[in-house]
Amino acid sequence: MTPAARVITEAILEVVRLRDPQANEIRLDHELVNDLALGSLDLAELAATIEVRLDRPLFDDVAMNGFVTVGELVEFCEQAQSAG
């Protein structure tokens, strides 16, 4: 797992644990809305947390609700990072 992927899955786990304190695993094939039940405020907090922890604006041109799976979100952030 890349450092960015680790940051993102940890951030998702923190949000999910607000609802389910026993949650302990985030998989790349988890769907953000259908599997993890993230709402719009959850996704907004997640976007803010990822931008803060990766220290760059990432979500100017894409909406968080456009990502279906954790893997899509991770891939997007990794590509944005490598693009500088």
């Binding site: 607000l18 719009s40 907090e45 976007a47 803010a48 947390t49 931008e51 041109d61």
Partner: protein, 319 residues
């Protein structure tokens, strides 16, 4: 930012300071912080697509010390409004406000915690109104918020709001009996919201206060005399916003309340409310209000004794 203002009728009508006016004052100053250093007005804050954004508020906390009740700030009085705004990412705003006499408010946020002064805090998120009238979070361009300090961790108010939404109670166990008849509040055009618009966050205070008055004077037995309800002064209010209502819509306010003796000459009425429109939760609210018996009509102590005898310190009884 600390601004000295004069309490004019444009802010508070012909009376003394009240909560909606306090919130509007803090909101005004927080907009000046967000736009300072640039030429844009708040109407010109946009996302990258050029769509206008506004900061929607999802958690409000007002604290007023009994020594400085809001009503003690009279019309035409000059006082200081101190506001601190921080940003978490670009999405969230963490806002703190305080009012005090001129020169009384330090310019360091950390020092505000030690003040015995009225305090306001809220958490907000930049929001876009879509063409279909619905709202969704959206990010302002990086041109904005340049003058707003960043915080690295999730604001406390945001975490609290999420917890409250999940457990559907601000204080666990202090929730309205949803089977009880709610107080109905009609959102009036002009008074509460402009045509086609939703209510401003401060208007929820008016809805809660109106529902509280109706509940105490009409929905409990024995009912509270109007003289006592008139003397209620806010010492704490929390609102967690989940939705909103438009002009002409009806809000059902489910209420529970209890009395607490705070001293031989005062007592507190605590209320918990759920605001619902068409089965959709709009907000959860809790308020603590002080009644100082020396400031109410003569003979009221006997009435208060009777109320405590009838209701005790648990939930107030239905009529």
């Amino acid at each position: 930012m600390i601004e000295t203002i004069e309490l004019t009728p444009a802010v508070t009508g012909l009376g003394n300071l009240h909560e909606p006016a306090l919130l509007a004052l803090v909101a005004d100053t927080h907009y000046r912080i967000i736009t300072q250093g640039g030429s844009a007005t708040p109407r010109e804050i946009t996302n990258k697509a050029g769509e206008p954004l506004y900061p929607s508020i999802f958690a409000l906390h007002v604290r007023v010390p009994p020594q400085r009740l809001l009503g003690s700030y009279e019309l035409w009085r000059r006082f200081d409004v101190g506001v601190d705004v921080r940003s978490f990412g670009r999405q969230f705003l963490d806002v703190n406000g305080v009012i005090g006499d001129v020169g009384e408010v330090p310019d360091v946020l950390d020092a505000w915690d030690n003040l015995v002064l009225p305090r306001v805090s809220w958490a907000g998120a930049w929001t876009l109104t879509r063409a279909d009238g619905e709202h969704e979070p959206s990010l302002p361009t990086t041109d904005f918020l340049g003058s707003v300090p960043r915080i690295a961790k999730v604001p406390t108010a945001l975490s609290l709001a999420r917890e409250v939404q999940l457990r559907r109670a601000i204080t666990p166990g202090f929730t309205p009996d949803m089977k009880r008849t709610p107080v109905r509040y009609q959102v009036a055009v002009g008074r509460d919201a402009s045509i086609g618009r939703q209510m401003m966050f401060s208007q929820f205070v008016v809805v809660c206060d109106t529902a509280e008055r109706t509940f105490l004077t009409q929905h409990v037995a024995p009912a509270f005399p109007a003289e006592i309800v008139d003397a209620l002064a806010t010492i704490e209010r929390r609102i967690v916003y989940v939705g909103n209502a438009r002009a002409d819509e009806t809000i059902d306010v489910h209420v529970t309340a209890r009395c607490e003796r705070s001293s031989p000459t005062s007592f507190v009425i605590a209320t918990a409310m759920e605001l619902v429109h068409a089965g959709r939760l709009l907000a959860l609210a809790e308020t603590r209000k002080l009644v100082a018996l020396s400031e109410t009509v003569s003979g009221v102590s006997r009435v208060v004794d009777q109320l405590f005898s009838a209701h005790g310190e648990g939930p107030l009884h239905s009529s």
